[in-house]
């Protein structure tokens, strides 16, 4: 293979990658940034400035929603970790062979199904005429119908359910690679369940915990369906604000600014998570 041929091959293979990244990722984001810093002064008249970002900081509704979205996403991430960790440990360490494959598959199947269907399931369970409400009336705990839907707890249930897989899979993978003899050695040296969990298991599982948490946080932050369908009138989510600025109000300048703030928050958290755990993006998501 001559040098010139190799060059040509390189450029030919480079072309689709560059077209994809430039036209669909880089230029659109630069364009969105430019729109977000143009302030409307009249019909089709704009000046450059940070007016749209100022609107965000001066209007309590906007930054309250932003903070609420961030905090609830963090809470959802912790809950997912807390609920998922014991299950991942059980699958990785206490089962083997066919049982292990079956349990792992049972974790996967719900997530091949559209998020819409999963959320629909929770609506049927939680609403006033739903299963839980009917069940409570049937066993006589409550006399009238109970509404479980349209509040923050319902959003939490939905978010945790939707992101569970992205926590359990990396956890099972890292826990699988932990040698049982290390745990045995811990017991031999006089450790008990809790100290072994703290000193051996959790440090070993750290890469899985971090990549799981990062993905779950991002998915919760960027979620639109779950808060809209399960949340009530007051349960605003930041993606909902972006949607309404773009589609309902047709205020693309403010919407773009919101989009950038969300992107900034999600990138910051990902970056901090990677720094704290001394991992690179390539190891975490590039697998």
């Amino acid at each position: 293979m001559t040098q010139a041929q190799s060059r040509l091959g390189l450029y030919l293979l480079m072309a689709p990658l560059m077209l994809w990244l430039l036209l669909l990722i880089i230029i659109p984001h630069i364009g969105m940034f430019l729109v977000s810093i143009s302030v409307k002064t009249g019909v089709r008249q704009y000046v450059t400035g940070f007016g749209n970002y100022m609107v965000f900081f001066t209007e309590p509704l906007y930054w309250n929603t932003f903070a609420r979205t961030a905090f609830m996403s963090i809470a959802a991430t912790f809950l997912t970790l807390l609920i998922g960790f014991p299950v991942a440990y059980y699958i990785a360490k206490l089962t083997r062979g066919r049982t292990k494959t079956t349990l792992f598959l049972m974790c996967l199947i719900p997530f091949w199904v559209s998020e819409l269907v999963r959320t629909f399931g929770w609506m049927i369970l939680l609403r006033e005429t739903g299963i839980f409400s009917s069940f409570l009336q049937y066993i006589g705990v409550h006399s009238g119908p109970v509404e479980f839907l349209y509040n923050d707890a319902a959003i939490m249930i939905g978010l945790v359910y939707t992101s569970m897989l992205f926590m359990v899979v990396p956890l099972v993978t890292t826990l699988d690679s932990l040698d049982d003899s290390l745990i045995e050695a811990g017991y031999d040296l006089g450790g008990n369940g809790i100290s072994i969990l703290r000193e051996i298991i959790i440090p070993h599982a750290m890469p899985g915990i971090v990549s799981g948490c990062i993905v779950v946080f991002m998915l919760s932050l960027g979620n639109y369906l779950t808060p809209i369908l399960l949340g009530g009138k007051d349960s605003l989510w930041f993606t909902g604000l972006i949607y309404s600025q773009f589609i309902t109000r047709f205020n693309w300048e403010l919407g773009s600014a919101f989009g950038f703030l969300l992107l900034g928050l999600s990138s910051t958290i990902v970056w901090v998570g990677l720094k704290l755990s001394r991992q690179s993006l390539t190891d975490t998501v590039g697998r």
């Binding site: 091949w112 739903g130 960027g222």
Partner: protein, 285 residues
């Protein structure tokens, strides 16, 4: 807490009950969605009014089944159309990227690789709006300059396809690269020694080796495209894919016909998912 170390009975049982409860939690929403597809009532809720197939095959209002419900059948067609193109584009670009990143060394390789991963960490709704803003600007400028219409750059299926492709291509690249890395290059060299052309060797030796990964990536791409909501929502025009149609119905409140569609979706996605696992298995052999 491993099998070789004895635990107290109480602890072992509590643990087992916890894991069982977890799997009930996982299965519950999907189970009720499927169950109510067969309820003989116009609302997907209790009381249970008996078993019926009407939500699949019915054609008398209000009992219109999936197979007689025009808008839903049409949006399934739209989703299939979108998924086909997204999957085709993704595996084409993914295969090309795999050769680029595995076989070549060039300036900024590491930087481009990280750039290639970025679509995974950008929220879908933001991918959607940025592409919407960009294509709209391009369309406005082109229309001002030429006086022609550029409908392909307005919200609609071409933009939905590009929007979904913009992040699904990353998955395809990762899956196909992983397989190409395992390829033994001496096989290709042997083919070259035996008189094959460069392209002939790739076509007859390398691509067949990559096939399980390419097929697996195609299935995953179809699955992801079919169920994508966030990016699609921002870019959709008048032809709505299935998830968008279902979302609109869900907000208004609908008959159990939605449960019937969901049941079909669950069956099809579980089958596709298992298929992608089978491809992965074959890849390991």
């Amino acid at each position: 807490m491993i099998a070789t170390i004895p635990q107290s009975k109480a602890f072992a049982w509590t643990y087992r009950i916890y894991v069982t409860l977890f799997f009930i939690y996982l299965a519950l929403p999907l189970t009720v969605v499927c169950a109510f597809a067969f309820n003989d009532s116009v609302f997907p809720s209790l009381p249970w009014d008996g078993f019926t197939w009407a939500w699949f095959f019915g054609n008398e209002a209000p009992y219109i089944g999936v197979f007689n419900e025009r808008p839903i059948i049409k949006s399934i067609g739209t989703s299939l159309f979108v998924a086909f193109w997204v999957s085709l584009l993704s595996i084409a670009v993914g295969t090309s990227n795999a050769f680029l990143f595995v076989r070549y060394d060039f300036k900024f390789k590491e930087f481009l690789y990280i750039l290639m991963l970025l679509p995974l960490i950008i929220p879908g709704i933001i991918l959607g709006i940025s592409i919407l803003v960009f294509s709209n600007t391009v369309a406005n400028n082109l229309e001002d300059a030429t006086g022609l219409w550029f409908d392909g750059l307005r919200p609609g299926l071409p933009l939905v396809i590009l929007g979904q492709f913009s992040f699904i291509a990353t998955f395809a690249t990762l899956v196909i690269s992983a397989r190409l890395e395992k390829f033994d290059r001496s096989l290709e060299e042997a083919a070259l020694n035996l008189g094959a052309t460069k392209w002939g060797a790739i076509r007859q030796i390398t691509l067949p080796f990559l096939m399980p990964a390419i097929a697996g990536a195609a299935v995953v791409a179809i699955l992801m495209s079919f169920e994508n909501f966030n990016t699609t929502l921002m870019l959709v025009g008048s032809d709505a894919p299935l998830t968008i149609t279902m979302f609109d119905r869900l907000k208004q409140g609908s008959t159990p016909v939605l449960n019937a569609v969901s049941l079909l979706l669950i069956v099809v996605s579980a089958l596709l998912g298992l298929m992608s696992l089978l491809f992965q298995k074959r890849e390991q052999n």
